[in-house]
């Protein structure tokens, strides 16, 4: 590692506020779409290395079986990936939530994962992009893996980057046993640009 990036307290607070607002808007839209109340955690923001992320993930959920979906986004020099991790106990409730009445085979679960991801990522990223006055292009979401151990979904050793800005948000849906974690990971070279964008909000 050539140098270690840090994020000043000021920027961190600002980014947390931006994420909070975006999440609030997202939660409101989600509540209307899904007809249920969305409980969000306060976003946790940190600059992490791949190994740190793996560790952070492990502290989220010690369970052996999770499913994950990722989606890349890029725009105006800011690039990153959103990763959504579901506890495997969530599937039956996810199906109920999205009004799925088919049998839950591997294919249906994949579809559920993708649909939920679409809804959660979209709602959140759009809110953030709007506030910092940007628009992002999105790649198609990819299923990272189904019913696997966390360390099989994300292997830090094969990562090609050294550090990244990670925002972690936990979602819970009232009345449903759905518990998932959203990680917004911005690449190292995006951080400078993001801070410039945040400067407009701070000034």
């Amino acid at each position: 590692m050539s140098h270690t990036l840090t994020l000043s307290e000021e920027y961190r607070d600002c980014l947390q506020e931006v994420t909070n607002v975006a999440m609030g808007q997202a939660a409101d839209r989600l509540a209307r779409l899904l007809d249920t109340f969305v409980v969000l955690s306060i976003p946790h923001i940190e600059i992490l290395s791949p190994a740190d992320i793996a560790m952070a993930l492990n502290s989220i959920d010690g369970s052996d079986c999770v499913s994950g979906v990722c989606q890349g986004f890029i725009g105006g020099g800011i690039a990153g990936e959103a990763i959504l991790l579901f506890n495997d106990t969530s599937f039956a409730d996810l199906a109920r939530l999205l009004k799925y009445d088919h049998e839950l085979d591997q294919q249906a679960e994949r579809e559920l994962l993708m649909d939920t991801t679409n809804v959660l990522f979209g709602a959140c990223l759009r809110g953030i992009a709007e506030q910092i006055d940007m628009t992002f292009s999105f790649g198609p979401p990819m299923v990272l893996g189904q019913h696997q151990r966390l360390e099989d979904l994300f292997t830090p050793r094969s990562a090609t980057w050294q550090q990244a800005l990670v925002t972690e948000i936990n979602y819970k849906l009232e009345g449903y046993n759905v518990n998932c974690d959203l990680l917004l990971i911005l690449t190292e070279d995006s951080i400078d640009l993001l801070c410039k964008k945040l400067d407009y909000l701070l000034s």
């Binding site: 839209r29 779409l33 999205l98 994949r110 993708m114 679409n118 809804v119 999105f138």
Partner: protein
């Protein structure tokens, strides 16, 4: 003043040209699901001209489109003002189109990724929906072939080439697993080890290809008589092994005798020679006295040794 509209018209013209000719499917729908734009890609692949589809319901035009699912997607797009995606892994296609390469391609239809975008009007309200259809047949076919190859490699690494039974390494893994299960649950479990009597004589008299045929036949008789839970493997040259789950020694004896008599009654014809042969079998039920998987094999092997010594073509239980 008069040049500006003309310039605008020109620009509009070539923009439309691009939309029309781009090799990606573009469809615009209004909120009643009526088609408002249908570009060249969609026209060519669906064999439906713009005039055939404009202002008609997409569900009437394409009954294969899963309406409930599609409407749910569109609802999310209009409510969240955000793009939705479907990939070929999730749903192979939205519109059933022919593969772009009908001659050299191997896919029956086009695999598609789709992006569904909300289009806002001047007031910021979502009034239309845009579908972008990408042809990802090549990617999908490559991925599926890779998965198939991996599955084949996995299969090859686990099985014995001549007989298709589990190879020794994989079978021994099953044996260790079964042994662990026994230590936890103490259900009855038996092991049969058997080999072909005077196999060397078959090889010497009829040649090695004949010997191979005898091994193959033995494996096929063995496999046809097993339950799904039984685990059969080729242990060595002419030696075979079967784990019988939930089976005590008496039950294993029934299985062994059935196998022995079927092999005795069958014959292998190789280059006009009719080869009759027999097998000897040793049986060991797992008990608390057997302390590791190797000892379990040894015990069954002792049964097999006793069967040989008693004149071959028989099954012997070795009691621990």
């Amino acid at each position: 003043m008069t040049t500006a509209p003309k310039e605008f018209l020109n620009e509009f013209h070539w923009l439309m040209d691009v939309l029309h000719n781009i090799d990606v499917g573009l469809v615009v729908l209004d909120l009643d699901m009526r088609v408002k734009l249908w570009n060249g890609f969609m026209q060519n692949h669906s064999a439906k001209a713009s005039t055939d589809v404009l202002d008609k319901s997409i569900f009437d035009l394409f009954p294969e489109l899963p309406e409930a699912w599609f409407r749910r997607k569109l609802q999310a797009v209009t409510m969240l003002h955000n793009a939705a995606f479907t990939t070929w892994e999730q749903r192979p296609y939205l519109f059933r189109f022919k593969n772009y390469r009908p001659v050299t391609g191997i896919a029956e239809h086009m695999y598609q990724n789709c992006t569904i975008l909300p289009l806002t009007d001047a007031n910021g309200q979502v009034a239309h929906i845009c579908l972008i259809v990408y042809d990802v047949t090549e990617v999908a076919v490559n991925r599926m072939q890779l998965q198939k190859a991996n599955a084949q490699l996995h299969q090859i690494s686990r099985t014995d080439g001549l007989t298709g039974l589990l190879n020794r390494k994989t079978w021994e893994q099953s044996l260790r697993n079964e042994f662990k299960r026994f230590q936890r649950y103490h259900h009855a479990c038996s092991l049969i080890m058997f080999d072909i009597d005077h196999f060397k004589r078959i090889n010497d008299n009829y040649g090695h290809p004949a010997g191979d045929e005898v091994i193959r036949r033995t494996a096929s008789i063995l496999q046809s008589g097993l339950r799904e839970s039984d685990v059969a493997g080729r242990y060595g040259g002419e030696e075979f092994a079967v784990i019988l789950v939930d089976t005590d020694a008496a039950g294993a004896m029934v299985v062994a005798e059935r196998l022995r008599t079927r092999i005795e009654a069958s014959s292998v014809t190789y280059e006009k020679n009719i080869i009759n042969y027999t097998v000897s079998l040793g049986i060991a039920e797992l008990t608390a006295k057997i302390t590791d998987p190797t000892m379990w094999i040894d015990t069954a092997d002792r049964g097999l040794y006793n069967a040989k010594r008693a004149g071959r073509n028989q099954s012997v239980i070795y009691h621990t």
